[in-house]
């Protein structure tokens, strides 16, 4: 039995903002294609946002829910993107039932290997070591790929074979929008289930007091490795969708700069909330889209990103969602209703 048993009745039921926000965001995503049917550019933009949201959620699973500072989340994103691009180029294969699982398996396997090296072992690794390990992995991969002719070196791989369902080919537009939406919804629901299951309860314990959990007999590092691998799988799916959608994948898509963009998405929205990363991604990408027309600002876009990150870590660590969601709800939002009070 994964789901925690429901407690009957019990006290006032406070207004819960988080489910409302979740519903609102997904309702907006459902409504968007109908409202914006004239604006193909905006549809494409929102598709991109949803794909990147999956990526941001994968980072949130690591940092927000299990305290693994994955500073190299783009590694799984990029490698999966390259994998499907190469399968398309060399094998001429891009059927959806084959390539998306392939991308997810690539991310999962890679993340599991990295987790086995960084997290498991006799000595408990420090948070800093894990952060640098992931960062270094992503940096090394970027350097390696940008010098490797077979995968297009610094130019990356472009004109990637279109994603196919039967004889139908996904191009930018409503069909891809639907695919991205369904993928986001699926990943979101799975993540939501995980963090509210008994496994999520263990993760909450790890966040609060790792040592105590270890003394209670939980193999903390193993739990972290499982979540890290799962997050790698989600990032892999996101990377594959991204490269199909853009028709391009380059070394920068697996480097530290995209990895830190995921950090910014997640922290801006609010880490540890699942819906926060989606909101953060939408906010950042919308801002970037809005400012891209102004020449003077476009060149300083990374400066703005840096300032956003600085302001968040200094003044608003709970992110945008922290403005509407109370701390108590944010931290205690796992398990069945009423359980939030059990944890202090």
């Amino acid at each position: 039995m994964l789901r925690a048993t429901k407690l009957q009745g019990g006290g006032r039921r406070a207004f819960r903002a988080l489910p409302a926000v979740e519903l609102l965001v997904f309702a907006a995503l459902v409504a968007a294609p109908f409202l914006l049917s004239e604006r193909l550019d905006l549809i494409t933009l929102i598709t991109n946002m949803m794909i990147l949201s999956i990526f941001a959620i994968s980072f949130d699973m690591c940092w927000g829910f299990s305290g693994i500072m994955s500073f190299g989340q783009a590694l799984f994103f990029g490698v999966s993107g390259y994998a499907i691009a190469l399968v398309g180029r060399d094998l001429g294969f891009s059927a959806i039932w084959g390539v998306l699982p392939l991308a997810m398996a690539t991310g999962l396997l890679l993340a599991a290997l990295l987790a086995a090296f960084l997290l498991l072992g006799r000595k408990v690794p420090s948070v800093i070591f894990v952060a640098f390990g992931t960062l270094t992995g992503s940096y090394a991969a970027e350097r390696l790929v940008s010098g490797w002719q077979y995968v297009g070196a610094g130019n990356g791989l472009s004109s990637i074979k279109l994603l196919q369902l039967g004889s139908f080919e996904f191009v930018e537009g409503f069909e891809f929008y639907t695919l991205a939406f369904l993928s986001l919804l699926a990943i979101y629901l799975v993540c939501r289930f995980i963090v509210r299951s008994q496994l999520g309860l263990v993760l909450a314990g790890i966040r609060q007091n790792e040592e105590r959990l270890a003394f209670l007999g939980y193999r903390v590092q193993l739990f972290k490795a499982v979540i890290f691998s799962f997050a790698g799988m989600a990032a892999g799916l996101s990377g594959a969708l991204y490269s199909y959608h853009q028709g391009f994948i380059g070394p920068a898509n697996m480097g530290p700069s995209l990895s830190t963009t995921a950090v910014i998405y997640c922290l801006l929205g609010g880490a540890g909330t699942l819906i926060g990363p989606v909101i953060g991604t939408v906010a950042i990408e919308a801002l970037s889209y809005g400012l891209s027309d102004i020449d003077a600002i476009r060149h300083f876009w990374p400066v703005i990103l840096g300032l956003v990150l600085l302001v968040i870590v200094m003044f608003q660590p709970t992110g945008l969602l922290g403005l509407v969601v109370s701390n108590r709800e944010r931290i205690g939002s796992y398990g069945a209703r009423g359980r939030g009070r059990a944890r202090v």
């Binding site: 070591f129 300083f300 600085l310």
Partner: protein, 285 residues
């Protein structure tokens, strides 16, 4: 034989650059327990100071002398305003300093207009001993590194301020109880580390072209050096930098250059994984 000597010289000069950069990083990491992600950008600022001084007609030497001062003061201001809030949590410090670095790097990139600027060596040319040519500027970098290292060692071992720094490193709580203001020491240490980065940037800019990414290429190697040597000591990071520097400049002679960098990272990570406390830390505990 001549070949071996010149390769050794290359390795030595690159290793001194690494040591110079990592010294500041390691001092800050050991004292305050934070990894300064903006360190690469302090190196960049040092290099940029030299460029500004040269283009303002003040000359290269003025820039090289001014760089550590300018970057040190900037570091002090940053520590007082921002960094000191992060001491309690290393991960938040990582994110905060990364953000600062990003802002500095991209601002300089905007100011440079995306160009690469070459800075000439203040003393160009080479001298030769026994038929082997040695670049004068690289020799100066090696000498400067040795001078900075011995100066820092002397300051730590023989001055009152060094005594306080060592005290604050060993046991911050006890140091505070003895009336040593650790907060001021931390400010000073951060300024000192930044100044070292500025000096490093000023010295290496003639070797590499000035671009916004001049510091970032050393950053990952710098972090690995600090972890390899062990946080919490002053000599550890320097030893680590020596090790990583030798590997990073020596491996391209043995394996294809594309593979050299990732291989260095892998070796360093594996060593850190096996000995998380580093070279020196292992001996102490």
């Amino acid at each position: 034989m001549a070949n071996v000597v010149s390769v050794t010289f290359d390795i030595a000069s690159f290793t001194s650059v690494m040591v110079l950069i990592v010294l500041g990083l390691g001092v800050i990491a050991s004292m305050m327990g934070i990894f300064n992600f903006a360190h690469g950008e302090f190196v960049l600022l040092g290099a940029y100071t030299v460029y500004l001084s040269a283009s303002a007609g003040l000359g290269l030497w003025f820039g090289i002398v001014a760089a550590p001062v300018v970057v040190g003061v900037l570091g002090l201001i940053m520590e007082r305003l921002i960094i000191r809030r992060f001491y309690a949590s290393p991960i938040i410090a990582m994110l905060g300093t990364y953000a600062i670095g990003l802002v500095i790097r991209e601002t300089v990139r905007g100011l440079l207009g995306g160009h690469y600027e070459s800075i000439p060596e203040p003393i160009g040319g080479a001298f030769s001993i026994g038929g082997v040519n040695f670049s004068i500027w690289r020799t100066i970098i090696i000498i400067a590194t040795v001078a900075v290292l011995s100066g820092s060692w002397w300051m730590l071992a023989h001055t009152p301020i060094g005594l306080r720094i060592r005290g604050a490193l060993e046991n911050p709580m006890l140091a505070r109880a003895c009336g040593i203001s650790t907060s001021r020491l931390y400010g000073l240490t951060f300024a000192f580390g930044s100044a070292l980065a500025g000096l490093a940037g000023a010295l290496i800019v003639p070797l590499y072209q000035l671009s916004a990414d001049i510091g970032i290429r050393f950053l990952v190697q710098g972090f690995l050096s600090v972890m390899l040597g062990g946080v919490g000591t002053f000599s550890g990071p320097v030893l680590g930098a020596g090790g990583v520097g030798v590997m990073a400049s020596g491996l391209p002679w043995l394996v294809p250059p594309v593979l050299a960098d990732p291989l260095v990272f892998l070796i360093a990570l594996v060593i850190v994984k096996i000995r998380p406390q580093g070279f020196i830390g292992a001996a102490r505990t």
